[in-house]
């Protein structure tokens, strides 16, 4: 981790309305995670994952769901451009469904 401060920019951010619609506690969690990118643009505690060249995604756990934040890091300009905030709900549900399937013991001929 370097010591510089990254500028967090929201000029092209999509999904801000989702952030505003979250309960206060969840909103605060996500805002804190975003603010933390200024110091550490690849935070391990939010499972930072490189999506493509220069773009990163973090997953912030909230009540009954997960919120993903997609952003682009420019190390030369020291900027973090937020791209998209969205619920991971559908994928999370699919994951839970799959976990349920794994526990299920199919009947019938084997």
């Amino acid at each position: 981790m370097d010591n510089k401060n990254y500028e967090i920019r929201r000029d092209y951010l999509e999904g801000e309305e989702l952030l505003l619609s979250l309960p206060d506690a969840d909103k605060q969690k996500v805002e804190l995670a975003i603010a933390g990118l200024a110091k550490e643009p690849w935070p391990r505690q939010f499972s930072a994952k490189e999506v493509s060249d220069g773009t990163v995604k973090i997953t912030v756990p909230v009540e009954d769901d997960e919120i993903t934040v997609l952003y682009e890091v420019d190390v030369y300009e020291s900027t973090v451009d937020l791209i998209r905030i969205k619920r991971r709900g559908p994928f999370k549900k699919a994951g839970e469904w799959l976990a349920g399937l794994m526990k299920f013991e199919p009947k019938g001929k084997s």
Partner: protein
């Protein structure tokens, strides 16, 4: 059902789920880059290529959705219809993702055109309607006209021509006489067109029909090749 087949099914769906999530991310990144780039010809050209690459990547990941589901069915022994229902219900339709990217490509291409060098701002024919049987190399034809600045629409059936005539009021119609599903004869339809447009051009290789058109007195005799070459409207003839 055997346990291992069931597990294979779960694993396969899980992989599909990850691919879909990755496809959504790729789409979001492409959209962001489009907005950030602004609308200069060079940047949009690069962006179009980016999005096209994205589409190719999604295709590579997902393959043909029906093929993927068929493969899933074959691997697991679960009936195709069941696999189809489960995958669609749980994960959405992969086609939707590809559709999104396709729309983006066409939106970006559309935005790019006015900035591209050589596009006529005052085309000779503003609205052009193509009536062509499926299978002709229509993309090439259409882009040749679009680069001249015309708005081009295409129909593949005779029944659609009349509807589009009403809707678009085209300045020029290029129609193949031997188009399928012409309600009345192609020539009769062309006679109607002549009333409403500056010009009608018959695209046909059928000598008998072309001569019949000549006898009606309203049309010039031109083969497709002659038309394309002599008008100079279509690059390369």
């Amino acid at each position: 059902m055997k346990r291992e087949k069931f597990d294979a099914f779960v694993k396969y769906v899980q992989a599909l789920e990850e691919k879909l999530e990755a496809a959504e991310d790729a789409r979001d990144v492409a959209k962001y880059r489009a907005r950030k780039a602004g609308k200069t010809a060079d940047v949009l050209q690069a962006l179009t290529e980016d999005v096209l690459r994205g589409t190719a990547a999604v295709r590579e990941w997902l393959g043909s959705p029906s093929h993927t589901i068929q493969e899933l069915s074959t691997r697991t022994g679960i009936p195709y219809a069941t696999c189809h229902r489960i995958v669609n219900e749980r994960l959405g339709t992969p086609n939707v993702e590809i559709g999104h990217l396709k729309k983006m490509v066409s939106a970006v291409s559309r935005d790019r055109r006015p900035f591209a060098p050589g596009v006529a701002s005052h085309p000779r024919y503003r609205r052009v309607l193509f009536g062509l049987p499926k299978g002709l190399a229509e993309e090439e034809l259409i882009s040749s006209w679009e680069i001249k600045g015309s708005e081009v629409s295409t129909v593949h059936g005779g029944l659609e021509i009349a509807q589009m005539m009403e809707k678009l009021q085209p300045d020029l119609i290029l129609v193949d006489v031997s188009m399928p599903n012409l309600e009345k004869s192609g020539l009769g339809l062309l006679k109607d067109f002549a009333k409403d447009t500056k010009r009608t051009i018959v695209l046909t290789g059928e000598i008998v029909e072309t001569n019949s058109a000549l006898l009606q007195g309203s049309f010039e005799k031109r083969t497709k090749a002659e038309e394309l070459a002599s008008e100079g409207e279509i690059a390369g003839g």
